[in-house]
Structure formats: C-alpha cells, structure tokens
C-alpha cells in the first residue's frame, strides 16, 4: 500500500508541472477568448493587399456579428473596389455548429446558397483564409494549448502558447504570443500540417483601449513563401450594441434593407 502511495506521489510530481503548464495554456487561451467575446459586434475594416514589391491594393468591408441563443450570425458587405462593391455574404450558424452560407452578387442580382467556404481558401485574395477571418486562434475546445515559455515582444511581456488542433484542418500547429496585460494575441505563427514548416506569420501592429476594452486595431499577415502580406486595419469597432436581427437574413442580402 505504501509503495502504491509513493508511486502516486512520484507520478504526481512528474506530471503535475506538465499538467499545470497545460492547464495554464488552456486558461490563457480561455482568457484570450473571453476578452474578445461579444454578443454583437460591428467592424469597419480596410484590407491592404501588399505585394512583395510594396505595391498595395485596398479593399473595404464592413461586417456585423450577432450571437443569439448561442448561435452566431455574420454578414459581410464589400464596399470597394468597384469590382466587388455591394457583394454581400451571410453566414448563419446551425444548431449542430456547422454554417449555412449565402452570397449576393450584384452582377447576377440574386442570392445564391453556397457550400460552406473551404476554411483554407483565400479571403478576397488576401493572406487570410476564411478561417483566419473568423479567428486567428483556436478555441479551448478546438486544440490542445500548452504554455511553452514567456518572453518579451515589442517591449510587452507575453505568454507563448503552442496550440495543436484536435482535428488538423488548415494548420498543423500555431504558436501564439499573448500579451500578459491585455490577453490579445501580439503575434501568431501558423505551421503546415507537419508542424515544423512555417506557413504564415501574423503581427499585431497596433492595439487600443476603447470603451472599456482592449481591441486590436491593426494586424499584418505575411505568407512566408511569397512574402505577400495583408494588413487589416479596424477603422471602427463596436461591441455589444443592440442590433437588428433583420440584417442576418437573405432578404437583407438581396435588397440591402431590413424589411
């Protein structure tokens, strides 16, 4: 009996630090989720597609998100350039967690149901995939998060978390530098499915404290292989505002009006 007890203690001593790190990693990522959580949000966004030679092409979009009864709906409106102006994109979350998606293309003048976007597909020709646009980090129930070290980045203290998704889809691994003060990601590295080849790097250029919360104001994603990058600037961000659910309908998608 004594031997068994000793064995338990030894096992506990060996495993506890690892478990503590693992738990801490998960807890940190839970904080990351919590600080970004909102029942509704509205964002006015400028995308800059930056060629390796420095040439920049700009796009402007606005996106609204509303979570009701635990289900999140998002509508995105493309404002420029002229070639995509007034294109609208609606995502409605189903009870089973999957999404229904519709697109309105002004040139066709009709709403079309489309297959749920392949997560790794490029969003508007940018370095962000559709999955990246939804979130650049994995939720606590999507990946195993481990705190691997702490370090200073851009004069800010950060936790460095390694996230390995339970189901490998777009990436095999991400490494996130989480700001200790704000719990916003300061930097994210996205790795191929082999977990060693760096695919993309996200850098937070600017954060700001507005309306009682820290928000990311500007981020830049770079594709390592091509040195092409995309900068996202949040021109305006509004959280937890009362929002008409009529925006998240195919009727709004087609007419641009809440009926």
């Amino acid at each position: 009996m004594k031997r068994i007890k000793q064995l338990f203690i030894i096992i506990a001593l060996i495993t506890l630090p690892a478990m503590a790190f693992a738990n801490t990693g998960t807890e940190i990522m839970q904080r990351v989720q919590d600080v970004q959580k909102a029942d509704s949000s509205a964002m006015d966004i400028r995308l800059g597609l930056i060629e390796s030679n420095g040439e920049v092409r700009e796009r402007r979009i606005q996106t609204l998100t509303l979570t009701e009864n635990g289900l999140t709906n998002t509508i995105t409106v493309f404002l420029s350039p002229a070639s995509v102006k007034n294109t609208r994109f609606l995502t409605r979350q189903r009870n089973d967690g999957t999404d229904d998606q519709w697109i309105y293309l002004p040139a066709l003048g009709r709403v079309k149901r489309i297959a749920a976007s392949e997560g790794s597909g490029s969003f508007m020709g940018s370095d962000f995939s559709y999955s990246d646009m939804a979130s650049t980090t994995y939720d606590t129930d999507e990946a195993n998060h481990t705190l691997i070290r702490e370090e200073t980045i851009n004069n800010r203290n950060a936790y460095v978390i390694e996230s390995i998704p339970f189901t490998t889809s777009d990436y095999g691994k991400t490494v996130i530098w989480v700001d200790k003060e704000t719990y916003l990601p300061l930097k994210v590295e996205f790795y191929e499915k082999d977990e060693t080849t760096l695919l993309k790097r996200l850098i937070t250029d600017d954060i700001a404290f507005t309306d009682g919360r820290w928000i990311t104001k500007s981020i830049t994603m770079t594709t390592i292989a091509t040195n092409h990058s995309t900068r996202i600037e949040i021109l305006q961000a509004k959280y937890n505002i009362p929002m008409n659910s009529g925006y998240f309908t195919t009727s709004f998608l087609e007419t641009g009006r809440v009926l």
Partner: protein
C-alpha cells in the same frame, strides 16, 4: 435616340451626388476611431448612385481552320447603372451604348437593358419594370427559369443574364416565417429573340431544318406574323408563382407558371384550307416545377424538374407544341484548399405524344421536331464549368463547355480575365462550336464557322 441619351447620361453623371449602398451608415460614422452602444436600427441612407463600365473589344470570327478569313466585330461601349435609393423606394435603370450597334437601328430594348422601381413593405417588396429574373437552383443552367425570354441574337455566351430579354413585369416578394413567396405578372408576351436573317451568323436552323422548311414552304405562302400590338393584349398576359424555403442543408422550391412557350409556332394545315397563308402563333402552357439544392461540405447538389402542360394536351393540333417533361441534375464542388469552383450539369426534356417519324411534311410532329434534337422525343445536354482564380484573384481562368448528347454538338467558352488594377480588367475569351462525327444536326454544327476570339479591356467606375 443617341442624341437624347448621351446628354442625359452626362447630365446625370455631372450633377448627381454619388451614393448607392455605402455600407451600414446607420452604424458607422466617418472612418474615425469610435465606440458606441447606440442601437442599430436598420435604417439606410438615401441618394443617387452611378456605376458601370466603359470598354472596348474586338471579336474575330472565323472557321478555326481559316484564321485569315476572320471577320472583326467591334464591341464594348458604355454601360451605366443609375440608381436612386429612397426611404421606401428604390429605382434603377441600366443603359447600354454599344458601338457594334452603330450601323444598325437602335432598339430601346438594347439601350435600356433594365429598369426597375421597387417599393418595400413590412416583410416584402413589390418590383415593377423591365426586369431580368432567375428562377431555379442550377448553376447558370436551368429548366424552370421561365420569367424571361431567351436572347440568341449573339449566339450563346457564358453569361446567363446577357442571354435574357428584360421583360415588363410586376414581381411581389414576401417572406413569411422563413418561406419566401414570389408572384410574377407579365402583361404581354415577349417572344424569344434570334437571328432573323437566314444568312445571318447566328441563324438557328440547321441546314437540314432549312431544307425541310424550304420543302414545306415551297408554295411560298404569306407569313402572318403577330404584331407587337397583338402580343400586347391582356389575353397574352402571363403569371407565375414561386415558393422557396431553406430547411437545414436543403433549399427547396415549387414553381407554377401560366404563360407561353417562347418559341413561335406555325400551322401548315392552313396551307390546305386558306389562301396560302401560314400564321405564326404561340402555344399557351402551364409549368408545374420544383427545384432543390442540397449542400454538404464542399459539394452542392442541384436539381430542377417540371411538367409543361400544353393547351394542346393530347398533342394532336398541328400548330401547337406538346406537353413535355424537363429535368436537371447538377453538382458543384469547391475544390478543397483552393478557391476553384467546378460544376457539372445534366439537363434535358422529353416531349410527350411525339412520333419520332419519319413523317410527312404536313405532319403535326414537324413542329415538335423543331423543339427537339435529332428528331428524337428527348434532348439531353451536359454542361461543365470551372473557375480558377490565380495570383490572389488577379487572374481568373474560366473554362465552360456544353455537349448535346444526341446530336454530338459542342460549344466551348473558355476565358481569361486579368485584373490589371482593381478598376481595370483585360479579358480574352473564345467561342468554339462544332460536333463530333459527321452529319450532326446540332445547332453548334451549324455555327461551326462562328469560332471566335474576343479581346477586350474595360474600366469599372
């Protein structure tokens, strides 16, 4: 008419403030850093909008074996979309000025390519004007898309809307508890548009059909063609309804339509009884149709089907088209890891009470044969398309083609678009027609000398 239109466009473009849908203006202020907890109401800004393209293109037509014989058509021109957005009313007009029409009589239908006034009520809207609408779940190919007559004056192109005639109609749309109801009313009959000159490039009768027609019309009868006034009578009014609903991964719809086949008919029996006159007419029909889309992962499955019930229910009248079944099945695939989308569609029809012949010149089935393919009761077509965006959407390659199974005719419509800048695009596209084997009665075999390469550049504003 051009004298009137050009100053109007210039006047509008110079004097109107530019608006259109400028995003969620009730939520966002000027692009400065702000936060708020004000409610989002759904109110929208009002004002005028103007957008469009100006471009230039040339299209070289030639039998692919004789490139130096190519004939050049000039195209492009100015396309302007003017819109007004009011508090409860939207209005828009689409204008097109195309240099290829310079030597021909300008038709209003080619200049005013669309016009609509829409008013909104709680849960719905009423739209009236010269509209183009698309019914059905297919990817650009439909068998229940009934609201607009087809326009074949420019052959076939890889643009569904460009091949529709904008028709006068009133369309009411209402959303009730997740179900969308549409009711359409068209006050007059607009027939399909096609090349009228037998020597014209896009004349739609095959050599055999022309020979048959020559035999049938050997007595050189008078042709009594209905006038626009004849087709504008209330008796020619048409109406339809569509109900669609999303249920989980399914989009389902039902369609009813009471109107006319867009293809004209003729009754040769009149040659026996009257003073050598053949009357061109149209066949009244009802469509009972259904459509469905099923989405799973990157796959989209599409289906359409319907039964056209002719006023000649028994299929015995010489000057009327018969009943027919129509069907379509398609699948679309968003290729994983890319933005490439591919689609494959199979569609066709089956004509009821149609004796495949051989039949005499004065047989009622002669007319059915005009709606058929290779003299068969059925006609089936495979259509495939693939769109491949490259270099972050800077270059888009699109490959499209259709193959008629019975007649072995094919049409290939490849294109490459290079977005030089966000508002400037260069496009090269080809049209290739022909058939596999010999003796094909396909219209694409008839058009085999119309292979074309088109190069164009357009500026978007």
């Amino acid at each position: 008419m051009k004298r009137f239109i050009l100053p109007l466009i210039l006047l509008l473009s110079l004097t109107l403030p530019l608006y259109a849908f400028d995003g969620f203006t009730d939520i966002f202020d000027d692009p400065v850093e702000t936060t708020t907890t004000e409610p989002v109401t759904g109110e929208t800004s009002t004002g005028f909008g103007i957008s469009g393209t100006v471009g230039f293109s040339f299209e070289a037509f030639s039998d692919i074996a004789k490139p130096l014989e190519a004939q050049i058509d000039i195209g492009g021109g100015l396309n302007i979309d003017l819109s007004w957005r009011g508090s409860i009313v939207d209005a828009s007009v689409n204008l097109s000025l195309n240099p290829s029409l310079q030597d021909e009589t300008l038709e209003w239908i080619d200049v005013f390519t669309g016009l609509s006034i829409t008013t909104y009520f709680e849960g719905g809207r009423i739209e009236v004007g010269r509209l183009k609408k698309e019914w059905g779940s297919g990817d650009g190919v439909h068998v229940v898309d009934v609201l607009n007559a087809p326009d074949y004056r420019n052959g076939i192109v890889d643009d569904t809307l460009a091949m529709k005639v904008a028709e006068p109609m009133l369309l009411t749309t209402a959303l009730v508890k997740g179900t969308t109801f549409e009711i359409a009313f068209k006050p007059m009959l607009i027939p399909m548009l096609s090349e009228e000159d037998p020597n014209g490039r896009w004349f739609m009768l095959s050599d055999k059909q022309q020979a048959d027609m020559a035999t049938m019309f050997a007595s050189n009868p008078d042709i009594d063609t209905p006038t626009k006034e004849d087709l504008s009578k209330l008796s020619k009014a048409q109406y339809g309804a569509r109900v669609t609903r999303t249920m989980g991964p399914f989009d389902l719809g039902l369609i009813y339509y009471n109107g006319y086949y867009y293809e004209p008919t003729y009754d040769l029996s009149a040659l026996m009884t009257t003073a050598n006159t053949v009357t061109i007419d149209f066949t009244r029909v009802q469509l009972f149709g259904a459509e469905g889309t099923f989405i799973t992962g990157p796959l989209t499955f599409m289906a359409e089907g319907g039964f056209w019930l002719s006023e000649d229910m028994k299929g015995t009248e010489m000057g009327k088209y018969n009943n027919k079944w129509v069907y379509l099945a398609g699948v679309g695939l968003l290729i994983p890891g890319t933005s490439t989308y591919a689609t494959l569609t199979y569609n066709g029809h089956y004509i009821m009470d149609f004796d495949e012949g051989p039949y005499a010149a004065m047989d009622a089935d002669n007319l059915q044969a005009a709606q058929s393919s290779a003299g068969k009761r059925y006609m089936n077509t495979l259509t495939a398309a693939m769109e491949i965006p490259l270099a972050r959407d800077t270059v888009v390659i699109r490959l499209a083609g259709t193959y008629q199974i019975e007649t072995h005719g094919y049409a290939l419509l490849p294109s490459v678009t290079w977005n030089i800048a966000d508002d400037l695009a260069f496009k090269a596209n080809a049209r290739i027609f022909g058939s596999i084997g010999t003796g094909s009665e396909s219209i694409f075999e008839t058009w085999k000398d119309n292979d074309a390469l088109k190069l164009g550049i357009s500026y978007l504003f």
